[in-house]
């Protein structure tokens, strides 16, 4: 159900780190996504059915558990949703809510494998150019109409129409068409076989054809459905009061049974201090991405339980490689070695962060654990800089070369206190080796404008890493003219490896290639990879069966329940 996050900038969310739950080891090199790849490469009906049984068992257990129906969950949100239309929404909060309202073809498990959801099973053709889904015949839209293969194929058509504005349209580019075989069988065809065929097809939620076919695709972004959605999931939409709350209620007719909690209310409170006060005083039951500074205070509250898990985001400083100073490999490596990343983590994230070494995080299957780490070593940094001709020739305490002082501006966005603090820390650290840093905190759209035009010297931002590994957009030479390879990284050997790895269906070979690709990037240090954080969530202790995972705090929310004698509402 929860949607796989895109390689999307996290900027706004980020004041809030996150990371590993005790049960989800972040350093298991062959952990999560690997299984997804294996299953996609060797799919067969038998495996699908096996997973189907696991899924049914999960619901059986859910039905058999003596959970008491009733009560409400009040979730504190820092920002309102933008749209509850699966075709147009952009914000994470909207995604989270939509996951409870509407089904996808498959459900993403905590280990990132796919489990049946709307589709009971699926299989590839021998050529691997066709992928057929067998849908449940007992799933209804909340207005009573049955969900069918017509909805599935309509959804793909709308996702692929460029004027719809579907944000992840690139995931659908290799899908040729969707064919309705019968009411409950949909077949997807491809021009070529590649590793992420299943992933690309199941990404996104299904939309009701009988409602949205009347909306021209170019007007989808402003359709009334955006704020009054009809879903087919365990919860149904009830009300959305702009800037106040969104309420969803238990779907009595859900195929797997009615979820125990009667109501879920997403309360919008655009102030972190206020959210924390409301959490402590019971005005909200749950807060996601609690800033680390509140952790100790909230841990002392008897009624609250902390859930901590790894995030899939990292923060970095990007060096503009068009700048002659940063074209030197040794200078870039020296800059990384002069920055004490552990001190940044200890000071700002407390224990809720780890140094990130490269563009793929440890929780992702393709992570290379043997990357060079360029750990803090100011002496070595000074030496590297001296070898590149940067010396303090005039004794003013700053390095210079050809009469030019080593000084640069470090841009980042306003509104993210941790980043603003990091600029000051980096300024102090680089001063130690004789480099002047001029922090430049900018409003978000201005920062984006500057990065797009490559008008910066150094820039600090964050990325959220997709499970689907494809480094083209951020690192490929062809992307330099686009928006996101704004550091202008270019390495023909990397380009070749990336192009091969993206299409490699053999998991072992693909992994090998991604390991090499990571090594190249890390050795080249176009970014100084700073840290990956841990996500801290707090919830009231009356809620039972709560599991929170990296891919969504609400992963198993339809199972949450409250014992009768503890119910509050």
């Amino acid at each position: 159900m929860p949607r796989i996050a895109r390689i999307t900038l996290l900027i706004f969310l980020l004041a809030v780190p996150s990371c590993s739950s005790p049960s989800t080891s972040t350093d298991a090199p062959d952990a999560p996504g690997q299984r997804l790849i294996v299953k996609e490469i060797t799919p067969d009906r038998g495996r699908s059915e096996e997973r189907n049984l696991e899924y049914e068992a999960q619901w059986d257990e859910f039905d058999a558990t003596p959970h008491d129906p009733g009560d409400a969950l009040v979730v504190g949100l820092i920002a309102d949703a933008d749209s509850l239309n699966p075709l147009t929404l952009e914000t994470k909060n909207a995604h989270d809510i939509l996951d409870l309202l509407t089904l996808s073809l498959t459900h993403i498990n905590p280990d990132y494998s796919s489990a049946p959801s709307l589709a009971q099973s699926w299989e590839f053709s021998e050529s691997h150019l066709e992928l057929t889904f067998h849908l449940r015949d007992d799933v209804y839209w909340h207005d009573g109409v049955k969900t069918t293969a017509h909805d599935v194929c309509f959804t793909l058509r709308m996702q692929q129409a460029p004027t719809t504005g579907y944000p992840n349209i690139k995931d659908k580019q290799y899908i040729k068409e969707c064919i309705v075989v019968d009411d409950f069988t949909a077949r997807f065809t491809f021009d070529q076989a590649y590793p992420y065929q299943l992933f690309d097809v199941v990404d996104g939620h299904i939309v009701p054809k009988h409602i949205l076919e009347a909306v021209p695709d170019g007007e989808m972004v402003t359709a009334a459905f955006n704020r009054n959605p009809i879903g087919n999931g365990p919860y149904r939409f009830k009300e959305w009061k702009a800037q106040q709350y969104i309420e969803i209620t238990a779907n009595e007719d859900f195929f797997a049974g009615r979820p125990p909690l009667d109501r879920i209310l997403f309360k919008v409170v655009p102030d972190q201090e206020n959210l924390v006060i409301q959490l402590r005083s019971g005005q909200i039951d749950f807060m996601e991405r609690v800033p680390p500074r509140f952790y100790e205070e909230l841990s002392r509250e008897e009624d609250l339980v902390a859930h901590i898990h790894p995030s899939r985001s990292y923060t970095y400083i990007g060096w503009n490689l068009r700048d002659p100073r940063f074209q030197s490999l040794k200078v870039r490596q020296a800059l990384t070695m002069a920055i004490n990343r552990q001190e940044i983590i200890d000071s700002l994230l407390l224990e809720f962060g780890d140094i990130s070494k490269g563009p793929i995080l440890p929780i992702i299957w393709a992570y290379n654990p043997n990357l060079p780490d360029f750990s803090y070593d100011p002496e070595q940094a000074r030496q590297y800089l001296a070898e590149e001709g940067w010396k303090d020739t005039d004794g003013d305490g700053w390095l210079d070369k050809d009469g030019q002082k080593f000084s640069f501006s470090l841009k980042t966005n306003k509104g993210n206190q941790i980043r603003e603090d990091i600029t000051v820390m980096v300024q102090d650290m680089l001063k130690e080796v004789g480099i002047e840093v001029r922090p430049n905190i900018l409003e978000w759209t201005i920062l984006v404008n500057d990065s797009t035009k490559k008008e910066f010297e150094a820039i600090m931002l964050g990325w959220s890493v997709n499970l689907k590994i494809d480094m083209t957009t951020l690192w490929h030479s062809d992307s330099i003219s686009d928006k996101y390879n704004f550091v202008s990284y270019s390495n023909p050997e990397f380009d070749r490896l990336n192009d091969q790895a993206v299409m490699e269906r053999d998991e072992k070979k693909a992994r090998q290639m991604w390991w090499q690709a990571q090594e190249m990037i890390v050795k080249d240090q176009p970014y100084t990879f700073l840290f990956t954080d841990k996500q801290i969530n707090f919830i009231h202790k009356r809620f039972q069966s709560v599991q929170m995972e990296t891919e969504g705090w609400h992963y198993n929310l339809p199972h949450w329940w409250v014992p009768q004698d503890q119910q509050k509402y």
Partner: protein
């Protein structure tokens, strides 16, 4: 007076048009593109272009301006919000009544508390009460509204020992409101509006109380007050019937001038207390470079200030018979 009001309203039109024009070109002159809020590498360029088309951003600036002004003047249409994905008008129509509600109560607090304390301080000049209110008024007046809001939150909304007497945010108890009786619903709304209205109103009340005290002290030294006292009228009648009415005249002017401060105060207070009004819409629009929303919010706030000042002028004439609006 009618012709005066009509004339003032007519003058307001070019004023607001000027405001709209300046805002329009200012926000478009700022670097950055509104579609940058969708900073998503997976987004198709064509999809982004479509967004620009839907929001009219693909047109030359002059065309955008003419379209916008025509839409506002002829159809009361403010375009689509790029961040909220809905017509700006819908968002404004939801948020505006909430801000008016909050501002009205804050104004009521400002006037009643300010005037009452001012009168008491004047009639008990140099007493402990007078000294105490002087210090208190200065404290509240110098306190930024966001700070006062946070203090009130901590004291009354759950910040201390996890107890709370008043809700920390919103307009209603979102879980229980539906099942409440009519009277309970009113009470629910009242307890929710109390903290933001106090935050917004107390600072201004502090100022009003000082002005009121000063004006009243000035007035009660006048000859006609002495005459009234000499005629044997009671202190109460002298102060309230003869003194207060005259002392109120400059207060009305001050209230008129304080309206812009009150409306701009909602921007902060609504953020702190999650009050779903124009202030929050304004903050979101500014941060998300939501052109249409930003322009609409400025126009509405501008209109509110112009209308507020007009009302103050009219009240001025009502209170002071010597003033003739012409």
């Amino acid at each position: 007076m009618h012709s005066y009001i009509i004339r003032r309203l007519l003058i307001a039109i070019p004023l607001l048009l000027g405001l709209l024009t300046v805002n329009f070109f200012l926000i478009h002159a700022a670097p950055g593109d509104p579609t940058d809020i969708f900073y998503n590498p997976d987004m198709d360029p064509e999809a982004r272009e479509n967004l620009r088309r839907i929001y009219g951003l693909d047109q030359p600036l002059g065309v955008q301006y003419v379209r916008y002004v025509r839409g506002v003047l002829l159809e009361f249409e403010f375009g689509y919000s790029i961040a909220k994905k809905r017509p700006v008008r819908d968002e404004i129509l939801e948020a505006l009544p909430n801000t008016l509600q909050l501002s009205a109560l804050a104004l009521l607090i400002e006037l009643t508390v300010g005037i009452a304390i001012g009168i008491l301080a004047a009639v008990r000049q140099r007493s402990t009460f007078d000294n105490l209110t002087r210090v208190t008024a200065l404290t509240f007046y110098s306190m930024p509204s966001f700070y006062l809001g946070l203090v009130l939150l901590f004291l009354f909304a759950g910040g201390v020992s996890a107890t709370h007497w008043l809700p920390a945010s919103g307009m209603i108890d979102i879980v229980r409101h539906e099942s409440m009786s009519g009277l309970e619903k009113m009470g629910d709304r009242l307890v929710h509006i109390l903290l933001p209205a106090l935050t917004l109103g107390l600072g201004a009340a502090a100022a009003i109380s000082r002005y009121m005290r000063g004006e009243l002290l000035e007035v009660i030294r006048q000859d006609y007050i002495r005459t009234a006292k000499a005629k044997g009228l009671s202190e109460k009648v002298v102060v309230f019937k003869h003194g207060l009415r005259n002392a109120l005249i400059p207060i009305i002017t001050i209230v008129g001038l304080s309206l812009p401060v009150l409306f701009s105060g909602t921007v902060i207070v609504e953020q702190v207390f999650a009050w779903p009004g124009m202030g929050r819409v304004a903050v979101d629009a500014a941060f998300q470079r939501d052109y249409s929303m930003f322009l609409a919010v400025n126009l509405i706030f501008g209109t509110m200030v112009v209308m507020g000042n007009l009302v103050a002028d009219i009240l001025y004439a009502v209170v002071d018979p010597r003033v003739r609006l012409s």
